[in-house]
């Protein structure tokens, strides 16, 4: 069983644009966050808005040969990794468990079996240490983690959370008490579309990074693939929603037609043109939402924010529109414990009531619930 590990102490990532960092919160409560919604076992410690440690164990290598995450394998790995990862996080931060003031854990959305392991561990810590428990929303955690990197959010920010499992556009008046979901994907998530197109092009799983690499050597304007939900009549009903399954089908048809004609497939151009469509739709709708809601700060989170075309296009369009763009370093964009500790710490600072020990996990936890 292969595990990868990474950790960091009080890390501050590079800024894409200069932002005014808020001072670290006066509230120095120490929150331990646990994330197990998919195949990463994440444990982090956050004091106020300062990250002390972010430890992770991953079962990703065990899934690669199946071409996707096998839920039972992920759940088994979470059980094996839980106490060792807790132990490692505390040792690296040189923190005694008795110093921890509250526990935060992902309550959803995610894989039920995986979520269940993390929630049970979090409850055991809550009982064992007699401290409060906060079950928090994973998707909102992807936005909240940026506060650890670039400081507390200004009064109103837009958050685009994109990964293999989610594509959501959130208007954030307060990361705990003021989340409005403006849009989401109606079918595939952005990263999921990349993995599917990767399979279509015969690339190894996960397809995202492979397409990204290929795309850098291709012409993004070579093929004009459709932009999902961007026609006038679609915009009326789904102004800020996304859809990538039609795009995936268009890529498949284009590739098949070339294959049938016995032509060679210009893989780099296909990848670049496909990625251009995804980045175009994501950024166009997001910038439009920022302008309509008069928001001057955009946060992009989730594993798909590693995508180069999305990053470049978002930077370019934000600069044109005078919007400050905040994207945390990639290790905070993929699933991790820091995002959960950050959101738990924010809930604690706002005096939100803790969860009770009966906290259920919710594989499709709605964005209307930040904590539960």
């Amino acid at each position: 069983m292969v595990r990868s590990a990474r950790s960091g102490e009080g890390y501050r990532g590079p800024l894409l644009q200069t932002v005014d960092s808020s001072p670290v919160s006066a509230d120095g409560s120490l929150v331990l966050g646990i994330e197990t919604s998919c195949d990463e076992t994440g444990v982090a410690l956050v004091r106020g808005t300062e990250l002390l440690v972010d430890a992770i164990a991953s079962s990703v290598d065990e899934h690669a040969r199946f071409g996707g995450i096998i839920p039972e394998i992920a759940s088994r790995a979470h059980l094996e990794a839980m106490v060792p990862t807790l132990r490692r996080a505390l040792a690296q931060a040189d923190v005694d468990l008795a110093e921890v003031d509250a526990i935060a854990v992902t309550a959803g959305p995610g894989l039920v079996g995986s979520l269940t392991v993390g929630a049970a561990a979090a409850k055991a810590l809550s009982v064992g240490l007699d401290i409060p428990l906060y079950g928090v929303n994973h998707v909102i955690g992807h936005a909240a983690v940026d506060e650890l990197v670039h400081g507390e959010f200004p009064a109103r920010v837009m958050a685009l959370v994109v990964s293999g499992g989610h594509s959501s556009l959130l208007l954030v008046d307060d990361i705990v008490t003021g989340i409005t979901e403006l849009g989401q994907t109606l079918d595939d998530a952005a990263g999921e579309a990349f993995d599917k197109v990767g399979r279509l092009l015969g690339l190894p799983y996960p397809g995202g990074p492979h397409i990204d690499r290929l795309a850098r050597g291709g012409n993004p304007e070579a093929i004009r693939f459709p932009r999902g939900l961007s026609r006038r009549e679609d915009l009326e009903r789904h102004r800020y929603d996304f859809s990538f399954s039609g795009l995936k089908t268009a890529v498949a048809r284009w590739v098949e037609a070339r294959q049938d004609a016995g032509e060679e497939i210009p893989l780099a151009d296909v990848a670049a043109s496909f990625a251009a469509s995804v980045a175009d739709v994501l950024t166009a709708k997001t910038i439009a939402a920022c302008q309509r809601h008069e928001v001057d700060t955009l946060v992009i989170g989730g594993g798909f924010s590693a995508n180069s075309q999305l990053r470049e296009l978002a930077a370019e369009r934000c600069a044109e529109a005078g919007i400050t763009l905040r994207i945390p370093p990639i290790r905070f964009c993929t699933d991790n414990g820091a995002m959960i500790a950050a959101l738990g710490a924010a809930a604690l600072r706002r005096g939100v009531a803790p969860s009770d020990l009966g906290l259920p996990v919710d594989s499709s936890m709605p964005l209307t619930l930040v904590t539960r």
């Binding site: 096998i70 039972e72 759940s75 979470h78 059980l79 269940t116």
Partner: protein, 224 residues
């Protein structure tokens, strides 16, 4: 010197058990789909009702199954993490061992009698293990644990001549008639009694789960 015992192989069952094996407080709920929601509440309840403070616990003992995956993991990760939080050792004991030991006591079975302990494995199968009643430590494992159809246990002779107990067999009365008055589920106090006698004999008691089934890797993989 109280221990906390947890078994989630069938019901959600917890107990605070003294080091002489006496149950100080116990709770159980037969809600196989709600292990994750109920377990921590029940632990908190038995601690309160027994008057035992968290930091008085000297160890945690968990049933390692065999059992369906999710519920079993809830029990084991809870035991491991709680032991870590309290700084006390965590020991694992097969849930079928505890069930067999409970049957020996409940039915006053004499030395030499053989017991087939069973659990509900769903998917039309039962978890099973076969034991002989011994002088000390009370039960001796002869075969298993395994997972099989009830009819297969009859066909291969594994059920022959044994006192049959447990919730697995209860679902198949025609193939595996259960002994009258036999327990259906493990008593968590038996986990502690077995753990203490095994520890005294110098055994190490790991908490690795007895899944007995490989992960189902068919169907559509999930997305991160």
């Amino acid at each position: 010197m109280p221990y906390l015992a947890i078994d989630t192989s069938s019901a959600v069952a917890v107990a605070i058990v003294a080091d002489d094996g006496a149950t100080l407080c116990a709770a159980s709920a037969l809600e196989p789909r709600r292990h994750a929601e109920l377990l921590a509440i029940m632990i908190s309840d038995v601690l309160r009702d027994s008057g035992v403070a968290r930091d008085e616990l000297v160890g945690v003992v968990a049933g390692t199954g065999p059992a369906p995956f999710t519920g079993l993991r809830v029990g084991l990760v809870t035991a491991q993490t709680l032991g870590f939080a309290l700084g006390v050792p965590v020991h694992g004991v097969s849930s079928l061992d505890a069930l067999a030991a409970g049957a020996v006591r409940a039915l006053a079975l004499p030395t030499g009698v053989e017991v087939l302990a069973t659990g509900d494995a769903r998917r039309r199968e039962v978890y099973w293990a076969r034991y002989r009643v011994s002088e000390t430590p009370g039960i001796e494992l002869l075969a298993g644990p395994g997972v099989a159809r009830a009819a297969a246990l009859v066909a291969n002779g594994m059920a022959a001549g044994a006192v049959v107990v447990g919730r697995g067999a209860a679902g198949y009365p025609a193939e595996l008639p259960s002994a009258e008055g036999a327990p259906l589920d493990p008593d968590p106090a038996d986990l502690v009694r077995l753990a203490l006698s095994r520890l005294a004999a110098g055994e190490v008691l790991p908490t690795e789960p007895l899944y007995l089934r490989r992960p189902d890797v068919h169907g559509t993989p999930a997305q991160p």
